[in-house]
């Protein structure tokens, strides 16, 4: 039950893109076509799940016992950068087709703040769902939260890409062309997502 609440909360209520503003750069950058948006979301989902798993272990089995939690930022970004590189090499070897599909998005993910953001979020503050006492996430909950966040990222990104494909065909005033109209569309999409607030306390 708690996992379901975590998933609903991360996908709809506290959508990582539209409510927490993490990962807005790729959201505006590569969301021109639905197909690229889906590819990017897939890559983010994969990296986010693995990165959160590894950084969780680093935090609780390396940084905390040694009393060097202040090294968190440096340690996490190094883990993520190394991981992205490793994922790229492994994918190239075992699944060239998937590598072809995700290839161009992988290097971009190191600087996607959603990945680092979720990794820091799950170890820095207690969460409480459905009236439960706020509690730090355990390993399984952290990974579920990361995957759900990535799904929320994918959902927002795909919806937005669909809208932008339509925008291409419409007659937009000159000063609004490009990023401004995209941001205003995103604002309206964020308003729609606000309708979910209150489902999960």
């Amino acid at each position: 039950m708690e996992y379901i609440l975590i998933i609903i909360s991360a996908v709809f209520v506290n959508n990582i893109l539209l409510a927490q503003f993490l990962g807005v750069c790729p959201f505006l950058g590569v969301s021109n076509k639905v197909s690229t948006a889906v590819g990017m979301s897939g890559a983010v989902c994969f990296v986010m799940a693995v990165a959160t798993l590894v950084t969780y272990l680093v935090q609780y089995y390396l940084l905390v016992p040694l009393g060097i939690e202040f090294m968190q930022t440096i340690a996490f970004i190094l883990v993520i950068a190394a991981l992205v590189q490793m994922v790229e090499i492994i994918l190239k070897k075992i699944s060239p087709a998937l590598y072809q599909a995700l290839g161009i998005f992988l290097p971009l993910i190191t600087t996607n703040c959603a990945v680092l953001g979720v990794a820091i979020l799950v170890v820095s503050k207690p969460f409480g769902f459905g009236g439960a006492e706020p509690d730090m996430f355990n390993l399984a909950e952290s990974v579920v939260y990361a995957i759900a966040s990535a799904l929320g990222f994918g959902l927002a990104m795909t919806l937005f890409a669909g809208m932008r494909e339509q925008l291409e065909l419409s007659n937009v005033p000159k000063a609004f062309k490009g990023v401004p109209i995209a941001l205003i569309t995103a604002g309206i999409l964020a308003m729609a997502f606000m309708g979910f607030s209150g489902i999960v306390k």
Binding site: Q20, L22, A81, T110, P180, L183, G187
Partner: protein
């Protein structure tokens, strides 16, 4: 290019927010009020100036293969220093900005300036470039925060102007996108 233009170009001509459209996450996430926006801008400026200086000094020593990872480590170290300083001197602001302070590491403005400017220019020029771009970023964030605070809470820099409720949506998530979008339109219009 004169030294002065290195500083001023970041404010209008190469404004990181409205023209280059970089660093969108903190721009949207921290501008719930003018003070928060300004705080975030100054924090980023601090990291930007120092990272530009350090990177321009060490750039000739770094093999091009490990360029980006080395830059990220330098930036992450500076962000850690900033975290300590903010916890010590402005704990309230540090708590409000929260997650977005460690996320300066992945702010594309900082890495972008390192790659596009600092690694090819002298330490002094890089510092000036950092000041200019940082100021531009701070100005944009302050303006966005100002508009959101005014519309959403009817107050300016924390002082209530008139009694009553503002349009709450502007302080919440959708307002961030809308205000930035419309300000960008005005910026485009004004530049012509």
């Amino acid at each position: 290019m004169g030294k002065l233009s290195l500083i001023t170009k970041g404010i209008i001509k190469e404004n990181p927010t409205f023209v280059l459209v970089l660093g969108m996450c903190p721009t949207l996430g921290t501008t719930t009020s003018a003070i928060n926006g300004m705080g975030m801008g100054l924090a980023t400026t601090f990291v930007l100036i120092l990272s530009n200086m350090v990177i321009s000094a060490i750039a000739p020593l770094i093999p091009s293969k490990v360029k980006i990872p080395s830059y990220i480590v330098v930036i992450a170290a500076l962000v850690t220093v900033l975290q300590f300083l903010m916890q010590a001197y402005v704990p309230a602001l540090y708590a409000t900005l929260g997650l977005f302070i460690p996320l300066i590491v992945v702010n594309c403005i900082v890495l972008g300036r390192a790659e596009a400017f600092a690694c090819k220019n002298s330490v002094v020029d890089s510092a000036l470039d950092g000041i200019g771009i940082g100021l531009g970023f701070t100005c944009s964030l302050t303006v966005i925060g100002f508009v959101r605070e005014l519309l959403g809470g009817l107050s300016v820099f924390g002082t209530k102007l008139v009694e009553g409720d503002g349009m709450l949506a502007f302080v919440l998530a959708p307002g961030a996108f809308l205000v930035l979008g419309y300000l960008m339109v005005l910026f485009n219009k004004a530049k012509k």
